[in-house]
């Protein structure tokens, strides 16, 4: 074991909220050695971010922290919870740096990025003027920002999420810290960008010889990135081991459950003679970006001519990074968006139908969206949400029949029918997603568009929702169009996969074939970035 750098002993964090006390971190102890990478793993609410934020005393004022955090820094061994604020400020950004989950909002939007990085140098080093500017350019080069001389005078809004995270890393590394705390630094990024940032961090770690405390919920990252792992749950460390040990022989039930929650299993193939349920020819969607008087409108082509055939009982997975047009494609197929090209559903040509003639068809093609918090009306009870479609499509049903159908649908998604009196805010993310699925199912659809239905959920919850979708598909011979950026989930659910990039299909084919021997370089990159190339 390397020399200890950071020792956390019996850390406890409480939040005082409106006369109540929330015990976010209960009793956390761990040690991080010099140059080591330790991963703090856990699901939302496990206290992993709070623990790591407590190290630099960056928690909000209503948090109270107890225990001890020993830091072996430039001044020998000190206890960080009791050092003066002046000393704490000398440590922040200098001996210990931190990068965060939200690259889009973590930079000051009104300041040039070069200046924001230089501020750290001003604060902690003697570099000034030209020398400081030179160092910023050098840092930008190291973190892989193209054209660094020009980029220093950019504003954050001119940069992509990945580039902003690179700026954050440059800022964090400016003073060559001994420890970098990385709080879910890649969660908000596309998978190929995530892979680039992770390898950047690895390279810089070697170069600077720093330790990394890596907070994540993603076991795939942990497996490839960390030396040791602490698994957290409900504010406590339930297991801590080297990465190899942890994955080979997890001791704690919760750890085992987390590892099992990684998507697994494969979709059973459908009969080749299964009828075609939906077909699209040369589907195109364009959005007007800028409408101007007397001048041609500027357009953005979100979907640029896609052919797609979906058979009954099939799951077609659409993968791609943000902005690839996958959600737009899904919505255009259901005619939720204006498009050009042909769309056939069952025996009907949807292309020229107006909204009133489409309406009766809508009960047979339903949709479940990503955001389980935003997509359910907060002012309606679960019963009202689920039954609303029934009232539109089946006005002949009596009140009693409606309630029965709602109860049936709720049971299908393993929710207690008595819950129909309650409001969405009383439910967890996973339960809400079940409500959204029940809302779609109550109309007995044949085709379901699932737009990132599991992306906002913790892995363990995600696993149960995936299981539910599988069961429902078998029971009702449903056809799914499954949109996701998560290749592992798509691999577990889909018969065929369509890889999209910039509104076009890069590659499509049978799921297993595509994952085993991708033809296109972009597909290979995606698969590698999701750690699916080596994983068993």
């Amino acid at each position: 074991m390397p020399k200890p750098l950071l020792e956390i002993e019996r850390l406890q964090v409480d939040f005082e909220l409106h006369n109540s006390r929330v015990n976010a971190v209960k009793d956390v102890s761990f040690t991080l050695g010099e140059g080591e990478t330790l991963a703090l793993v856990g699901e939302s609410g496990s206290g992993k971010s709070v623990s790591s934020t407590a190290i630099l005393r960056l928690l909000p004022e209503f948090a109270s922290t107890q225990g001890a955090i020993h830091w072996h820094g430039s001044q020998g061994r000190e206890e960080l919870l009791s050092v003066s604020s002046r000393r704490m400020r000398r440590i922040r950004g200098n001996e210990i740096s931190m990068i965060f989950q939200e690259p889009m909002t973590s930079l000051n939007p009104l300041q040039r990025i070069g200046r924001q990085v230089r501020e750290v140098l001003d604060k902690h080093t003697t570099l000034r003027g030209q020398a400081a500017r030179q160092r910023v350019v050098e840092l930008f080069e190291q973190v892989g920002i193209p054209d660094p001389h020009r980029r220093v005078s950019s504003y954050p809004y001119e940069l992509s999420g990945g580039q902003r995270q690179r700026v954050m890393i440059a800022m964090a590394l400016a003073c060559e810290p001994r420890l970098l705390i990385a709080d879910e630094p890649t969660t908000a990024l596309d998978v190929t960008v995530q892979a680039q940032i992770l390898s950047l961090l690895k390279r810089l770690q070697r170069q600077y010889g720093m330790a990394i405390l890596f907070i994540t919920h993603d076991l795939g990252i942990v497996r490839h990135f960390a030396d040791r792992v602490c698994v957290m749950r409900h504010g406590e460390v339930v297991e801590s081991a080297t990465t190899r040990e942890l994955f080979a022989s997890p001791r704690h039930d919760y750890t085992r459950m987390l590892i099992d929650a990684e998507p697994h299993g494969r979709k059973a193939p459908i009969a080749e003679s299964a009828p075609v349920i939906m077909q699209a020819r040369d589907l195109k969607v364009r959005f007007a970006i800028k409408k101007r008087l007397f001048r041609p409108t500027d357009y953005f082509d979100a979907v640029r001519g896609i052919d797609l055939t979906i058979r009954q009982g099939q799951t077609v997975g659409i993968v791609g990074e943000s902005g690839s047009g996958k959600s737009t494609l899904g919505r255009a197929l259901l005619r939720l968006l204006e498009s050009s090209g042909e769309v056939h559903f069952e025996d009907t040509d949807l292309t020229h139908l107006d909204s009133s003639t489409l309406r009766p068809l809508r009960s047979r093609m339903q949709v479940v969206f990503q955001d389980p918090f935003g997509s359910l009306s907060p002012r309606m009870t679960v019963g009202e949400i689920v039954s609303e479609g029934l009232r539109v499509h089946h006005p002949e049903l009596t009140r009693k029949q409606c309630i029965e159908r709602v109860a049936e649908a709720l049971q299908e998604v393993s929710l207690d029918p008595a819950m129909r009196q309650r409001y969405p805010h009383e439910f967890s993310g996973g339960q809400r997603q079940r409500i959204a699925i029940a809302r779609a199912l109550v109309l007995k659809p044949r085709f379901l568009l699932l737009d990132e239905p599991t992306s906002a959920l913790d892995r363990s919850v995600q696993a149960t929702v995936i299981e539910l979708l599988r069961t429902l598909q078998q029971r009702h011979e449903l056809t799914y169009l499954f949109i996701s950026h998560d290749l592992a989930v798509v691999r577990a659910l889909a018969d065929t996969v369509v890889v999209m990039k910039e509104g076009r299909v890069v590659e499509q084919g049978d799921t297993e074939a595509l994952f085993h021997s991708p033809r296109e370089a972009y597909t290979r990159e995606l698969i590698r970035a999701a750690f699916l190339d080596q994983a068993a």
Binding site: R90, G93, T105
Partner: protein, 308 residues
């Protein structure tokens, strides 16, 4: 930038036209006319006067005559202030109103902004409660209540300051009207800057600034202040409009010879051309000031660029 400005000015034309049309017809809907008074004019003289001012024509024709004159920059003669054109009256009153308004907006910013920021930095403390309580009262009490109370207390009871008059803009005459005019805006700006400062202090980039090792003072001055000004700056447009409307009342109460006062008297006297003149003038003023506010906003926020 230049193209943007000219575009905005072009867009102001339909706005102004709507304002002119609405006020013209509303004004003529009100009963009475400029020559109705206690002293009845002989019928022939009134008929002559009406003909001279085209008042014998149908209203729609008067409207087009007015528009035609306006296009040539002619606001017409005042019906009541004989021997004065409307342009002359506005030129006389505007400097007074402008001075009053500028002081009021300056005071609103100079007092409201620091108070709001102070309250935000001491959130939920007694300072915060005091500032916000006072601000709430400031928002709630209309200026036509505040003005006479100020005049009563400081002018009559304490006799420190004059209760009215302009006296060529002597500072002693200005204190009470400026305060009465700005109090509501002080209160709004204080509440707004508090809210926006609190929001900014909770943002992710403030956490980043702290993680860099900056002191609280540096965090606030370098990273929190400018972003928290943005909503306040965008409120300046409505604030200016509020001050202009306020000045109509305040000038009347304190007997200040600005355009606000002319406006009220003109409306009461059915001095059609003077009412229209002030309305058009106010309209142009508000359009221009809003444009300036928007340009100021773009100077603060790099993401807003007016390049076409």
């Amino acid at each position: 930038m230049l193209i943007y400005v000219s575009k905005r000015l072009l867009q102001a034309i339909p706005t102004l036209l709507i304002v002119i049309t609405l006020s013209f017809f509303l004004m003529h809907l009100a009963p009475g006319g400029p020559f109705d008074g206690e002293r009845q004019l002989p019928a022939e003289i009134e008929a002559n006067l009406r003909a001279a001012y085209h008042l014998d024509q149908p209203v729609w024709r008067q409207y087009f005559i007015y528009l035609g004159n306006l296009l040539q920059g002619d606001f017409g003669p005042s019906f009541r202030y004989k021997d004065f054109t409307v342009t002359e009256l506005i030129a006389q009153g505007f400097p007074v109103s402008l001075e009053l308004g500028l002081w009021a907006i300056a005071l609103a910013i100079a007092v409201g902004l620091p108070l709001g920021i102070l309250a935000a930095l001491h959130r939920n403390s007694s300072i915060d409660y005091l500032v916000m309580g006072t601000a709430l009262a400031g928002v709630a009490i209309p200026n036509f209540v505040i003005a006479p109370v100020l005049a009563l207390v400081f002018g009559v009871l304490l006799a420190w300051l004059p209760v009215g008059g302009w006296n060529d803009g002597h500072w002693r005459n200005m204190v009470l009207p400026v305060i009465a005019l700005s109090i509501q805006q002080v209160a709004y700006i204080a509440r707004m800057s508090r809210a926006s400062m609190i929001e900014v202090l909770g943002s992710h980039y403030i956490r980043t600034a702290r993680a860099k090792g900056l002191s609280e003072r540096e965090v606030i001055w370098r990273h929190a202040l400018r972003p928290s000004l943005l909503p306040v700056v965008s409120y300046l447009g409505p604030a200016i409009a509020g001050i202009i409307t306020g000045s109509v009342v305040i000038e009347q109460i304190f007997g200040i010879p600005g355009i606000g006062r002319y406006f009220v008297q003109a409306a009461l006297n059915r001095d059609y051309t003077l009412v229209m003149g002030t309305v058009v003038f106010y309209g142009i003023l508000i359009v221009l000031l809003n444009l300036i506010v928007d340009l100021l906003y773009s100077a603060l926020d790099p993401q807003i660029r007016y390049d076409d």
